[in-house]
């Protein structure tokens, strides 16, 4: 299968007047087309930095990042980024929020507007297209945020703890929904999370990082036996506990 992301010996240092912090240390991994990969690690280990590097907002101190065989030199249309909160703009209607990426990339035309409407229709937000974000529930807002990301038609989705601002029930429901959308749209996705169950239930592969400076501690190929695989049914697979326990041990949490 084609490689979508290639991380080649990537390091990242942060500078402040107080000194230098190494956030990421010679990280290398590949992500294949259509894969769903989760990255877990102790809090503050540089997971979000990793996504910022892949998206091109930050430049690595050392090493190269290739997306579809092209080196990342800045934000690209190929990548969609989802943040912790939905960050829908309260002063814009849902449809206006959804097309903001098109507006920025100057690709807003009749055709792209239609395709944005089509996505809203498909995922049950069409009736709300002229509503303002505050009129929507938390789950619907997160869905609108995903559609905003999808509208720019990226090949790769970066999910930076996109469910952590939601309460537990909504979180389960929305992660299921968003997983289904991502699979249906056949997107490659990288999910950063601190929730081990979420990582196992959604991904094909889980990468465990060490404490800062982040290095790869281990990689798990998640193979679960369950019918009709979706994140919620996955949680009932017999192997789930095994993965959970070993990743938990790897993270080596001391309170």
């Amino acid at each position: 299968m084609e490689k979508v992301v290639e991380m080649q010996d990537v390091s990242m240092n942060y500078h402040s007047l107080g000194g230098e912090t190494q956030a990421i240390k010679s990280l290398s991994f590949d992500i294949l087309d259509g894969e769903f990969v989760s990255i877990v690690g102790p809090s503050g280990c540089g997971k979000s930095t990793l996504l910022s590097l892949i998206s091109g907002i930050l430049k690595p101190s050392k090493g190269r990042i290739l997306i579809k065989n092209e080196e990342v030199k800045g934000p690209s249309k190929n990548i969609g980024y989802m943040l912790q909160k939905d960050h829908l703009f309260e002063w814009r209607t849902i449809i206006k929020n959804v097309i903001i990426g098109l507006e920025i990339q100057c690709t807003l035309n009749k055709e792209s507007y239609k395709s944005a409407e089509k996505l809203l229709k498909e995922y049950g937000l069409y009736e709300f297209k002229n509503h303002y974000p505050k009129q929507l529930s938390g789950g619907m807002r997160q869905r609108a945020a995903l559609i905003r990301t999808l509208t720019a038609n990226p090949d790769l989705l970066l999910l930076d703890e996109p469910f952590s601002a939601l309460d537990y029930q909504t979180r389960l429901a929305i992660s299921e929904e968003i997983w289904l959308i991502i699979k249906k749209e056949k997107k490659t996705a990288i999910l950063v999370t601190h929730d081990i169950s979420e990582a196992i239930s959604m991904s094909d592969r889980v990468i465990v990082l060490t404490k800062r400076p982040a290095e790869i501690k281990s990689v798990y190929d998640i193979i679960l036996t369950c019918e009709n695989k979706t994140p919620i049914t996955c949680r009932e697979a017999p192997e789930f506990r095994y993965y959970f326990n070993s990743i938990w041990k790897e993270l080596d949490v001391h309170v």
Partner: protein, 268 residues
């Protein structure tokens, strides 16, 4: 939305007590207002206070009527209102533009910071005589006074709103490849409309200060001129009347800004 016939007794009582509280507040306000003017009038009539120095509501009313007859009252009030409105609109617009420039260039913002702090602390009215000499005794210098008084506060408060804009929202736009101009247009400006409107609210009061001081100095027309002129020739009726008209004008200006705020927040 609600079925009004179906309220429980408890809810009806709640609404009743809320309404009667509001009524009591308005009633007391009016009573205080009437009492002040009534006592003032009586005290002057009974010679408890000297109406020549303290003036008196009925004498103020007479002044209103005489000055209305020759139209000069409307001229002076109109001039003051015009200067104030031009002053605070210009103050808000230029202040916001300068705040945008500072947001754009972090270097410039850092360089100008101490100057802004000192200018903010300086009573701008102290510059009145300078402006008068530079620009001349015209409406122009009064407007410049009003502008000066309001612009620094606007720059500081709007700029701090700009720099406190949610970093993650900016990051989101950056992931789409937004440039600085797009970030300004799509998130920094719209999310700071409330900050700009609150600057507008502060500026109504500040511009009036600038305008009145300016009219004191220029002494040609306007309510400030009536006050200073009345004071010099001991026409306290004229002074007091002008102050009260000024209070009404200030309240009306403030209410119209509130109205604009309501319209804008509704639109958003």
């Amino acid at each position: 939305m609600y079925d009004k016939t179906n309220f429980s007794q408890e809810h009806i009582n709640y609404i009743k007590s809320h309404k009667s509280f509001k009524r009591a507040v308005s009633f007391t306000r009016i009573i205080i207002f009437i009492t002040i003017f009534f006592v003032w009038e009586i005290a002057a009539n009974l010679q408890w206070i000297d109406p020549f120095i303290m003036s008196q509501p009925s004498r103020m009313l007479k002044t209103v009527i005489t000055l209305s007859k020759d139209g000069s009252l409307f001229l002076h009030t109109g001039v003051t209102l015009y200067e104030t409105i031009v002053g605070f609109v210009l103050g808000t617009v230029f202040g916001t533009i300068i705040a945008i420039v500072l947001w754009w260039s972090n270097f410039l913002a850092k360089v100008l910071d101490p100057y802004l702090v000192v200018l903010n602390a300086l009573p701008k009215t102290a510059l009145g005589p300078v402006i008068l000499v530079w620009i001349g005794g015209t409406t122009k210098s009064i407007i410049v006074m009003a502008l000066l008084v309001s612009i620094i506060v606007t720059i500081i408060s709007v700029y701090s709103g700009f720099s406190n804009c949610d970093e993650d929202k900016i990051k989101l736009l950056k992931t789409f490849g937004a440039n600085k101009r797009q970030i300004l247009k799509l998130v920094v400006l719209p999310s700071n409309i409330p900050a700009i409107i609150s600057a507008l609210k502060i500026n109504v009061g500040l511009s009036l200060v600038g305008v009145i001081v300016g009219e004191f100095l220029v002494s040609k027309e306007g309510l400030g001129f009536l006050i200073i002129y009345g004071g010099q020739v001991f026409k306290m009726d004229m002074v007091m009347m002008s102050v009260i008209i000024l209070a009404i004008a200030a309240a009306l200006l403030y209410l119209s800004v509130l109205w604009i705020e309501k319209k804008v927040t509704k639109m958003m």
